[in-house]
Symmetry: C2
Subunit: 145 residues, 2 copies
C-alpha cells in the first residue's frame, strides 16, 4: 500500500491544485443541472444565446470555444426541445439567428438559480473579498497567454 500522500511530488505545482479544484467543482456543477436535463455546455449555450439575441452559430461556437461542426448537433437538440429557435436572416441567407424561446428563458433562469445555489455551497467559507480576490487571480492567470 502507498503512503498517505502518494501525490506529494505534484503538490508543489499550482496547476495540480487548479486541476483538482476544477474537477471537484465541475462534477458538482454537472450534478446541479442534471434534474433540468442540461449539461454545462447546453446551459452555457442558453446563457449566451439569451444574452446575445440573433447570434449566429459561428459566433456561438467562438464564445463557447467549440468547433462549428459540434455546435450543429447541440443547437439541433436545443431547438428540438423548444428552448431556442433558428431564424432565417434576409440580409445573409447563409446564417441562422439564434434566439431563446420563452420556454428557453424560463429554463435558463431556473438553471441559473440552481447554479447559484451550487456556487454558494462551494464557496461557503469564503468571505466576499476572498471570493473577489480568487476571481481576480484566476482572470490574471488566463491572461498570461
Amino acid at each position: 500500500m502507498a503512503g498517505l500522500s502518494p501525490d506529494s511530488p505534484l503538490r508543489g505545482f499550482v496547476g495540480y491544485h487548479l486541476k483538482r479544484a476544477y474537477m471537484s467543482i465541475h462534477s458538482d456543477f454537472v450534478a446541479s443541472l442534471t434534474h433540468l436535463d442540461l449539461k454545462p455546455t447546453t446551459y452555457s449555450a442558453l446563457a449566451i444565446i439569451n444574452e446575445n439575441p440573433d447570434i449566429s452559430q459561428t459566433d456561438l461556437a467562438r464564445a463557447l470555444a467549440m468547433e462549428r461542426s459540434n455546435i450543429v448537433v447541440m443547437v439541433d437538440e436545443l431547438q428540438a426541445r423548444g428552448l431556442i429557435v433558428r431564424n432565417k436572416v434576409p440580409t445573409d441567407r447563409r446564417v441562422y439567428a439564434l434566439r431563446t424561446t420563452s420556454k428557453g428563458i424560463e429554463l435558463f433562469l431556473e438553471a441559473s438559480r440552481a447554479v447559484k445555489k451550487h456556487e454558494d455551497k462551494l464557496l461557503d467559507g469564503f468571505a466576499p473579498e476572498e471570493r473577489a480576490q480568487l476571481v481576480e487571480m484566476l482572470i490574471r492567470i488566463q491572461q498570461v497567454k
Copy 2:
C-alpha cells in the same frame, strides 16, 4: 456579430473563471511536455511511481483518479519505453510492484524542470504570498466536497 462580451452572463460565476483558468494553463502544460513525449497523465504517473516505489497498479489508479482498466495500457506504454518496470511480488502473486528505471527517473526530472518553467511563466506576476494564497483557496474549494 455578437458584442464584445458574449459571455457576460457567465462571468458572475467563480466556476466559469476556474474553468477558463484551468483550460488555459492545461493547454500550456500539455505543450510544455510534448517535446518529451509525455502527457499530463504519464508525467503524473511517473511522479507518483517515483515517489512511491513498489506501488501497485490499483493504488496508482487511486492516486491518479483513473480506472484500473485504463491504468493497464498506460503502464504498458511506460514499460515499453523502459521508463518503469513491473516486478513480481512474492508475498502476493496477484500484484505488480511498479518502479521507475534510471531512464524513467532522468526523464521525470527533466520533465519536472519543464513543468516548473511552465509554472513560473504562468505565475509571473504573482508574489509568493499571492501564490500561496491561491493554492490555499484552491485546496479549500476541493475540500468542500
